[in-house]
């Protein structure tokens, strides 16, 4: 029987960077690293994980269903200028792909005041500072869950789809987040959303994003326990432990309020 090598996050990243990660090799994550105690296996460019006992208690049974007509959510406390290191991650299932909002600034008073939104099936836009960036992305399909994440460090802005960076690196700036799932009174989200995490002082690494997007797949439940990722400041789970119209913040104290009766459903990533 062969030994299993203990690794931390940086050693895990170095294995890939230096071309030393071999398909099928198993590693055990060290204490203090992301998903400490879990087994990770390298498989053709993707780390697949097998959760430890501590994280086995995590379950995800509900998501939020939005019909694309007029339902949305507001934050108790909005962010008008989120600067420096920050990241946002969530799962999204599109019933239809048209212009659909993920979030908009609290100050949005016109259809042009966008934050983060799907422009069409091959373009995603994100406003950083005063610039509205357009990321060209692989075709976004309907009827399936996608993991989307954006990270910023004050200089570089990166968009990830299902754990892979897409559309190049843009110039980061302050983010403004106030309302989720619509821009002013337009571009409502049509589909399901789940497990949105916000890191207000941390830039997730590419391996962190890949882990969030792919680690759960091995167990058949794509969503993972976001509290395992250092620096998480807000985590909205959409139905797991919530009582409508409130979506509780499971890490911080910034709840969402659901408007016009979107519902919690058992469709989950």
């Amino acid at each position: 029987m062969s030994d299993i090598t203990l690794i931390n996050d940086s050693e895990q990243s170095s294995l890939v960077t230096n071309g030393l990660a071999k398909n099928g090799e198993m590693y055990l994550k060290k204490e203090g690293s992301t998903d400490a105690g879990s087994i990770v296996v390298y498989d053709s460019g993707v780390w697949k994980g097998f959760a430890n006992d501590a994280s086995a208690s995590f379950s995800n049974d509900y998501s939020l269903s939005l019909d694309g007509t007029n339902d949305y959510a507001t934050l108790d406390s909005t962010y008008s200028s989120l600067s420096g290191n920050k990241s946002i991650s969530g799962w999204f299932y599109f019933d239809s792909v048209a212009t659909r909002t993920i979030f908009a600034p609290a100050s949005a008073s016109h259809w042009s005041h966008q934050g983060w939104f799907i422009l069409n099936a091959s373009s995603i836009r994100f406003k950083a500072g005063t610039t509205l960036h357009t990321f060209s992305v692989p075709f976004l399909s309907t009827g399936a869950w996608n993991h989307l994440a954006v990270t910023g460090d004050g200089t570089d802005l990166k968009l990830y789809i299902n754990g892979t960076q897409q559309g190049g690196t843009k110039a980061d700036g302050d983010w403004s987040i106030g309302t989720f799932f619509r821009t002013h009174t337009y571009y409502y989200f049509d589909g399901y959303v789940d497990e949105i995490g916000l890191w207000t002082g941390t830039t997730l690494s590419s391996s962190d994003v890949s882990s969030i997007a792919n680690l759960g797949a091995a167990s058949g439940d794509k969503a993972v326990d976001l509290s395992a990722y250092t620096g998480l400041t807000h985590w909205w789970r959409f139905g797991d432990g919530d009582s409508s119209p409130t979506v509780s913040d499971n890490v911080g104290s910034n709840n969402m309020t659901l408007i016009n009766s979107p519902t919690f459903v058992s469709q989950v990533p």
């Binding site: 007509t69 571009y187 016009n260 009766s261």
Partner: protein, 74 residues
Amino acid sequence: MNYVILPLSELPTVDFSEVAETSESTLRYSLDNSKFILKYEGEQPSFLSGTTEYTKAEILAILSGDEWTPSDPS
């Protein structure tokens, strides 16, 4: 869910306890503010009696038009 479109003049007749919308301030209005939409589960509320009902697919098609949604954002 069923959907209807009402002219703005009907706004005072809306019973918000019978529809999914939270309040007058959260309604979705047409771009010229001449009409708004409501939605409800099951039977049509009595205050809407006789109003044309739409399915989700039908209302989304209507809402995607230029009466309700600005064209390509920039």
